[in-house]
Symmetry: C2
Subunit: 221 residues, 2 copies
Amino acid sequence: MASHECVQLVPIFNDLATNQLDTIESIVRHHHYPAGSTIFSASDALDTLMIVASGQVKVYQLAANGREQLLYLLQTGDIDGEAALFENQQRTSFGEALVPTEVCSIRREDFQNLMRQYPSISINVLNVFGKRLSQLERQTTRATTESVEARLANYLIETAAALKTDTFKLPLKKKDLATFLGTTPESISRKLALFEQQALITQKPGKIIQINDADQLLLTE
Amino acid sequence: MASHECVQLVPIFNDLATNQLDTIESIVRHHHYPAGSTIFSASDALDTLMIVASGQVKVYQLAANGREQLLYLLQTGDIDGEAALFENQQRTSFGEALVPTEVCSIRREDFQNLMRQYPSISINVLNVFGKRLSQLERQTTRATTESVEARLANYLIETAAALKTDTFKLPLKKKDLATFLGTTPESISRKLALFEQQALITQKPGKIIQINDADQLLLTE
DNA sequence: CGCGACTTTGAATAGCCTCAAGACATGTGG
DNA sequence: CCACATGTCTTGAGGCTATTCAAAGTCGCG
């Protein structure tokens, strides 16, 4: 793995010079997780900041009844663990590598020192927090006020927008997509079939989705 | 209104000395909102930090289908607007005073200066963010994985815990409570009647709820 | 190529929402 | 201080969406 691999990837270190990145890189630890392995669990101590260098991590919670809720899908450059960088807390969620994944971590104490040294970092972290909060607020609103159909339509539109293409491969298994959207794999199958029947999308083998009529899809209630 | 009224209330200014609080108080603006009035709307510019000095503010979003989702209930000492203290953004939610409410505000620019001057503030803000994120994550998980019955039971338990008493008055109209829990006023009525029938709670006139069996209530699925 | 995991499809059910009407409370003006 | 008006809450009946359970079909990995 190249030096800088993690540190360069992360927006929160954006404003720093190369030699400063070197400093940070030297206090970072590298980890590898095979597909399907657990990276952290609820009730683990939360005392490191985690950076995804490559791969894909699903972050989820378990409800009292055992059902799973997918909260975030972390990709290259995403971070997690910022929630308690200054307070002793326990994790409340689980992290699982969906594919082989490289992770770098910084201990809480080291990160606090970094923030004292480079104030721009704390401002960047605040911005990351802010975006995540806004995103979660929207997700909560949708989950509780809109139908499964509307939520799925929205997800397809947003995924296409993020990837800047009309044709893309679903980045998740239907099972995981279901827990993300707060529904079941069966319902997703049915709704996708419905969209296809309405000619709004085309499904191709390999979880490939092609969006034919984004405007109409957005009108789904 | 006394000086310091707002500034003293807010945990993010906890670590500052009295004369520093004076400085901050001098750059704060005071506002009064009658019950039922709108404090801010979605698409408003988000360029001030808001502190609730007294009263109660409901913060909600509107979904595409017009349905309302209550995200937060701000009480004395709570803040809002931190989400975009460093980036130009628009609001995505609405704020409405439920009772006569006093609010103080600090302009983004002034707050940025404060943070540069007193680094402890940014650390406190990060902690506030972290807690709000954790809370929203739990709320999202519950909203999408648990039944209306379980969500209501949980809400009652948590409210009782927060107020440190078994008997309390519901702080919201059923309509607002419904949008908070992602359900309808009718369903809340029915579930409360069910809990009472099971002797888990007792309802008294004036939205007073008495919890008789918290343990059993928590087991509601 | 075969096995296990994922996905699709079907039928039945359950939980929740909608709509509507009546009861209650709350606060206002006379 | 009472009477009334308005908004809020409760209760009932009906319908619909989404879940559950089960079984067959498909994909992809070793």
